[in-house]
Amino acid sequence: MATHHSDNAKFLVGIYDDDDVVLKAVKEVKNAGVRIHEVYSPFPIHGLDVALGHPRTKIGIAAFLFGLTGFLCMVALTYYTMGYDWPMIIGGKDPYAYPAYIPVMFEFTVLFTALGMVGTFLVSNGLGPTVKPLMFDLRSTDNKFVMAIDLSKNKLSETDITSVLRQSGAAEVNVKQF
């Protein structure tokens, strides 16, 4: 995430005590013409991503494609091993007796969906074991709701934005420089 802005980015950080207040504040701050960088919270707040104008995630499409890949991989593997490479007639049935392979096809579909989707999630959010998180306030994983505003991307002055944040219910407004 740290790659999204320059090294000397200066942020105004509004700290809120309440999840309902921050959700309302997002609308107010946006109406005042301030561009919000992101809001950080200790737990998911429903409707926050919509209020911020984040587009709906397309990760479901990725999940479906991974699932399809898993399914087709197992179709190919069972067909190659049971039907082509070493065909055996068991109980007078066709060597490629596919109903018997549905359980493994299903398992592979689920396995690929889960691993592929979670992998996509980690990559698209820039998460990984060596990633240093961009933390505007350490309390945002505990009990505070943090609204970060990139000053370089806003036309309003620092004092104006501070008063907008205060009016929207921020308990504290801090300056954070990276």
Binding site: P42, F43, L48, A63, T78, D85, P103, A114, P133
Partner: protein
Amino acid sequence: MHVTSPVRTPLVTGGKTYADVTDDICRQVEGKPTREWIIAFTISFIVLIYGTACVFWTWWEGLGVWGLNKTIGWAWDITNFVWWVGIGHAGTLISAILLLFRMKYRTSINRAAEAMTIFAVICAAMFIMMHAGRPWLAYWAIPFPNTLGSLWVNFNSPLVWDVFAISTYFTVSLVFWYMGLVPDLATIRDRATSKVSRYIYGAFSLGWNGGAKTWARYEYISLILAGISTPLVLSVHTIVSFDFATSVIPGWHTTIFPPYFVAGAIFSGFAMVQNLMLITRVVFKLEDYITYEHIESMNKIITLTGSIVGVAYITEFFIAWYSGNEFESYIFLNRAFGPYWWAYWMMMTCNVISPQLFWSRKIRRSIVWTFVLSVVVNIGMWFERFVIIVSSLHRDYLPSSWAMFSPTIFDISDYIFSFGLFFTLFLLFAKFLPVINMFEVKAIIRSSSERLPASISGVAKGENVTNPTFNKNAD
């Protein structure tokens, strides 16, 4: 926007603020291990060492050290395998199916139940490795082109399906559990005072910072994971039951097995969750998070699944007679009145009769009753698998080969090994990771707490909400 339901009992008591949730749940992780923990861990670890020695002897000497004979080729090994896999079903059921049903009580128990699932599946896998006799050749179970020619595993065999089902179940459960942990690990990272824990929890929390975009995607993948885990959890025990049901042994060859096994698995899994949570809530002082409401809700599921299992037992017996197949009828009469009658009636009493006591609200909300009945249920479920496996095998079509099974010291010790392994892993989890899902509990506090503090995230504790109200639209 505090919504207090006048109908439902609160799920979080004690007027907790968001900060209280973090403090209460992180206390165990951040503090020094308690005396109870050290004692419990030492005992489990000694049991694990003893068990490991016995398992190695089993592998070194061969399966002859078990009490198996020519007639009874599967006994305690497969009984223990199915028992542990069954226990491993509650975790994913709680986190996946209850998520889809929007059951809020899952938030306090899902973390520990999922951990239990993973450890139980590890124990189950150990019995497969033991039972296979030569664990260094375990890779033969995967479709691996061998050096002699292209001879492949047989995909028609339910044992091969089982390899895929159990390994998929383990992997997906692990991923689901770990993804649930990431935001909580970030909380611990941000509170950490020592460099070492900041580094370790930092690495495992993957740089999480709780941005709105990340949370939105996170919730989305949680929903899909729950959606795919639901059929997965049902498929796993279905496939375990196919190990028996696709054979032509009387007593195994029944179409009722998949739903019957799945219900039994959920039944025993919830009983094990009860046992673990009842101890955890007292030792870790989490009574405000795991309340009587949670215990009662789980007991209701135990009663439901126990009754399904009971109906399955009776149906099986009826069908054995109704089928007109004399081998089938004989096996069932032999189960109930033959030499293994005591195992059969143990199973009937523990699984069918004992959970019916939970129809009484008093018993459902009693800690002692819940604990004792949960142990009884798991004893019953062990006997169920023993009855299915051993009583079907010990008298086959040839009376000259009829035999009895008696366990040796290695049968027993290898079972004890799994307890050592399970509790060692569970205690390590309970010490180093948050046993309750902090962020999910915080997310339900508004709608499900007993009373809402004046300032929810601050330290100030608010007053009792005397008149519960629906003020959802008050903005």
